[in-house]
Symmetry: C2
């Protein structure tokens, strides 16, 4: 089952990459508000059901993919595969 995991800096946590992108966009003449940069992880996981896949990916997030102190994560399963 394929999944998309979005890992973002939590609200209130400093995001220097987001600040750099925001500042560069403004220098290029774009009008943008707050910009935040995180990671998107596309992966394929073997699981019998969507709920088992989600639980397995939550464990991956807690152990490796996200730093729970400063990042939040969101899991989207592609159910049609």
């Amino acid at each position: 089952m394929r999944a998309v995991v979005l890992v973002r800096p939590k609200a209130g946590i400093l995001d220097p990459q987001g600040e750099a992108v925001e500042s560069s966009l403004r220098q290029l003449g774009f009008t943008v508000g707050e910009t935040r940069v995180g990671k998107v992880i596309d992966l394929e996981v073997a699981a019998d059901s969507p709920s088992a896949a989600r639980a397995e990916i939550e464990r991956m997030c807690e152990r490796l993919l996200a730093n729970p102190l400063i990042e939040s994560y969101e899991i989207e399963l592609e159910e049609d595969e």
Copy 2:
């Protein structure tokens, strides 16, 4: 208008970060298939319509957010704001 931009390495393009994540997940005992890592950019753009917002963000992607040689991008507008 808020938007989410997903920037991913194109198919066939080497993704060392994805390979590192895949290998680390396996070392932790997870069973995963191909893993790819890209960026998620959350930003706020001033535009009169969703189509104008999308066109503006496409320009941002082409000028700064994505490297069109090796990355593809996807724009999701949050229309309810």
